[in-house]
Amino acid sequence: MDKALEIKRLEVSFIPAGKKRVKILRGVNLAIGKQESLALVGESGSGKTITARSVMRILPRSMYLESGEVLIDGTDVRKLTENDLMDMRGRLAGMIFQEPSSYLNPVFTAGSQIEEAIKDSEFNLGSSPLRGEDMVGVKARISRTERKKLVLKMLSEVGLKENVYYQYPHQLSGGMQQRVMIAMALINSPELLIADEPTTALDVTTAYGIIELLKKMMTRYGLSILFITHDISLAANFAQKIAVMYAGKIVETGPARDVFSNPLHPYTERLISCLPERYKTGERIKVIEGHVPDFNALPKGCAFHPRCPYKKEICLYKEPGEITKGTTTVMCFKYG
């Protein structure tokens, strides 16, 4: 397997209490190679977070995976039992979140929370498909002192001092909290890290530090990263690949440089032209007219057509398929 994460035709439905079900992911295709980073870009409500949470299988109760495959390092997470899922989370893939302050438990010290994330190797033996040859026979439980040593080492890896071990989340700054989250996610050295808008709640300089840390961890640990953001310039800066999401579909994927300098999909093009740094002072910034469509009443045909300046007749009734153009894959009738 040369892919760290592969998502194929993933569909997720949302069932509001007593209402008709709504599809919010409508066939997502995504692939991240080993030691590769991919940024998932899109507006709020386009399904970025749902995609990430589908990978970890931690969707809200009202949502469920309808069809498709989610392969982490070749293991289909849809086929795993609850026990195997527990084993998978943290070991195969770790996740960090948007608002670190609320994702840390306020009543425990940072150290004890990182320590808790450490998995004993003997945990869940049996017929789990996660268990490779190298895992057989590993039964050692890590002792308390070893656990603490491991946590302290991890803390210095993420650029924190040892005393953070004894501190409670509210005594840490936002950037430090996010570093603690990263330490928690990486302590079992998974191959895949899902970062769900890790810098959105942080100010710019702190965010820069976190981005640099993620880059460093990527090379040190051989990580693959699924980086979710709504900031396309950050995405282009951080990731090797970009996937643009709109209304539950990936409308454009390709190498970051190509997508950013030569966007193919009208939505990507508009998104980039919205960036304020492209304008002189006093000049009026172009915006994308209209709103993200309501999932209850998606437009027929291409979901973007009501806001698209290039729309053709075919866009109104037919959904575009994937078209490969150079290094980029795009879903638009503009290209055939």
Binding site: M56, I58, L85, M86, D87, M88, R89, G90, R91, G94, M95, F97, E99, S102, Y103, L104, N105, P106, V107, F108, E116, A117, K119, Y168, H170, M181, M184, A185
Partner: protein
């Protein structure tokens, strides 16, 4: 622990001193065999309902002297009238020798903290209807009354937290079944359920058996309302982001409930815990009062008080019979203040 005490003192000194009061009360209970001058069942029939004998360190006419008690004179045995004769003085001695006892059934001792020269008597809190020393009985009774709250609360809180936590976290059918069970238990009036449960067991049990029976009965009733409140809190806490984060780290449901959700209910639980200890002490009293609890001659604060209930004559003649009630009051108050302080200190947001 040291840290905890220092913070407790700084944030809430009242609760700090309450803790010390509780420590003293528990120490008195444990060391009852050493401290009490008389055994709890020793009857001095000629001195029934005798008022407290106050120790004196100065005597009329002469100035200071060692601590003494005056001799008791029976004025009218029918109406239990007593007087103290200051001409007959008996020295109070410390670490006196007496018949051998075992401290808490473990340590042998033949010396008690204090006593008085024969034939003098020392009744610090007076005597009861049978002429037994109330002070000694309060100390022995503390063993029952102070431990019944702690043990009962422990059992019912473990039950309540687990059931509430499981019910709230998993929801669905589990929740329905558990909550309907809780409602059935809550449906019965507390007192009658207690009586019914007690009545279901044979009446002629030993004191120790009765003691454990009462603890179990009280805690089987007590957990239901707690489970309901905890369930409500868990319902909202399980939506917290750190629960999601814990799930994304692959932590098991049981661990999430016990490690991430329940500790966040601590500020409520600790207060509820300390507030419900008095309920157990009073519940035991109520059972004892009806003759279903701890049996005479073994004392508990509840059954010592029960003599005074409905008997106004004893109350006016011998108000010192209410002293066990004062101790219940003191304990309840100390537990409440202590609980208050613990809540402040254990909440890391308050530091």
């Amino acid at each position: 622990m040291k840290n905890f005490l220092r913070r407790l003192k700084r944030t809430n000194s009242l609760s700090f001193y309450s803790l010390w009061l509780l420590v003293v009360l528990y120490a008195l209970a444990i060391l009852a065999d050493f401290i009490s001058p008389y055994p709890y069942d020793l009857q001095c029939r000629e001195y029934a309902l005798c008022p407290p004998t106050v120790p004196h360190i100065s005597v009329p006419g002469r100035k200071l002297c060692g601590p003494v008690v005056y001799g008791i004179v029976v004025v009218n045995p029918a109406f239990k009238e007593y007087a103290f004769d200051s001409s007959r003085r008996y020295k109070i001695r410390f670490l006196v020798k007496g018949p051998e006892r075992k401290i808490f059934g473990l340590l042998k001792t033949d010396r008690y903290l204090f006593g008085v020269e024969e034939p003098g008597k020392i009744f610090l809190f007076g005597t009861d209807l049978h002429g037994r020393d109330v002070f000694s009985r309060v100390l022995y009774g503390a063993r029952i009354s102070l431990s019944i709250g702690i043990i009962g609360v422990t059992i019912s809180f473990v039950l309540g937290l687990l059931v509430g936590g499981i019910s709230g976290y998993f929801g669905g059918r589990t929740d329905t079944i558990l909550m309907r069970t809780v409602e059935i238990i809550m449906m019965f009036p507390f007192f009658y359920l207690m009586l019914a449960l007690r009545a279901a067991f044979p009446p002629n049990l030993s004191s120790i058996q009765i003691y454990f029976l009462i603890v179990i009965i009280l805690s089987l009733i007590g957990w239901a309302s707690l489970a309901r409140i905890i369930r409500g809190m868990v319902l909202s806490l399980k939506e917290e982001e750190y629960v999601l984060a814990a799930r994304s780290l692959g932590i098991s449901s049981f661990r999430i409930i016990t490690r991430h959700i329940l500790p966040n209910t601590l500020s409520y639980t600790v207060t509820a815990l300390t507030l419900s200890i008095p309920g157990y002490i009073l519940g035991e009293s109520a059972l004892s009062l009806l003759g279903l609890g701890i049996q005479e001659p073994y004392p508990s604060w509840g059954n010592m008080l029960s003599v005074t209930v409905g008997n106004l004559r004893i109350l006016t003649m011998a108000p010192w019979m209410l002293i066990p009630g004062f101790f219940i009051f003191l304990t309840v108050l100390a537990f409440n203040f202590f609980g208050d302080g613990v809540r402040n200190v254990t909440d890391p947001k308050n530091w």
